[in-house]
Symmetry: C2
Subunit: 193 residues, 2 copies
DNA sequence: GCTCCGATCTTTACAATGTAAAGATTAGTA
DNA sequence: TACTAATCTTTACATTGTAAAGATCGGAGC
């Protein structure tokens, strides 16, 4: 691991280095060469693992998205019924990005959030956070004994998603001061849906 | 204007060139030097008008934001009552970015949407699209004779904004195919609020 | 008209970056 | 043990942002 010619696990090390750079210096300071330098490797070494910079960034996004998904799961696990789980999930969605505004900018600056997870897919059903939301929503319907058409369900989920995502976006915009405490659980819950 | 040493209106020309590059080749192809080349000017000429690349990009964002604000105004002007104006404004918010997905990515990738309009300010009250929304919302309250506390009003506006912005974000994510027609006025109106 | 000043633009230069190509090193396999 | 493919280094080049020094020009004042 120290001074060997072969790094051992360069691919993952580059991803970790990328995340570290984003957290410490911001996304605009992220470069192939800096990530390589952090791994004590020549600036061309990453090309053995990634086709180009875009592919490295994609892998980093996939990693951060996984973190995000885990956070959503954890939030839901603590709740007893599906209704409170749905609200808690929305709160958690906003909270994750309020705590990591740089991640919001990083993840959603490409407008292609699915491709990083499953390169061949481009449907929201392949986007883990969406899948989690849909699961919880369907549980909620069942729990309450509510019957809805497929289209109504689709619209409901879209509304929920848009609500959480929109609030997260507004909360993350450092230039948009709202007289709002984005860490106040009750306050955010009141905004959701 | 043709081959003179002084361009005449380079500042605006650079902004227009930037917008053109974004529309034709995407934001990632936007560079100081390409914008300068489009204006038939040396690559260092922009520094007479902008401190650095960031400032040029800020000016471009301000210009696009102005376009966006005009669109919102136009949408509201056609409506007779404030309630329909509010809905139409939300539809217009989404529609503008569905028609120009690159603009969404461009405008909201910085997370500092106010600074470009008024460099010294960082409050949402200085962000024209927000001001338009607030205006229309307050007219709506008056029209309906509804009394609400300052906090309730604040929350309502935030909900409206987040709803529209979130839908726009989801609609713009090319990797997220929804079985949804983002040009269907009625369908989008049903999703708002 | 002429002079001068500041704004505007060019030229030159340099460092950082992404990436291609050729070769060195090594792990794992036949 | 020899070979092969994966991994990494070195070298090279084009593109970029930006700084510095100087050229050009428009307009204010005389």
């Amino acid at each position: 691991m120290s001074d060997r010619y072969h790094h051992g696990n360069l691919r993952q090390a580059l991803i970790d280095a990328g995340i570290r750079i984003i957290n410490e210096s911001g996304e605009d300071k992220l470069s192939l060469r800096k990530a390589a330098a952090l791994c004590r490797v020549s600036h061309a070494a990453p090309y053995a693992h990634f086709k180009d910079k875009e592919e490295l960034i994609g892998a980093i996004k996939a990693s951060v998205t996984e973190q995000f998904t885990e956070e959503l799961k954890r939030a839901v696990d603590g709740e007893e019924n599906a209704e409170s789980a749905l609200v808690e999930m929305g709160r958690s969605y906003v909270s994750f990005f309020v705590c990591n505004p740089d991640y919001f900018k990083f993840l959603f600056s490409s407008l292609n959030i699915v491709a990083h997870i499953r390169p061949d897919r481009q449907h929201k059903e392949d986007y883990p956070p969406f899948v989690r939301l849909k699961e919880t929503y369907l549980k909620y319907l069942k729990e309450k004994g509510i019957k809805k058409s497929r289209d109504e369900q689709e619209a409901d989920i879209l509304r929920l998603w848009a609500s959480a995502h929109g609030l997260a976006a507004i909360a993350c915009m450092s230039g948009v001061e709202t007289s709002f405490d984005w860490n106040d659980r009750g306050a955010i819950e009141a905004l959701l849906l």
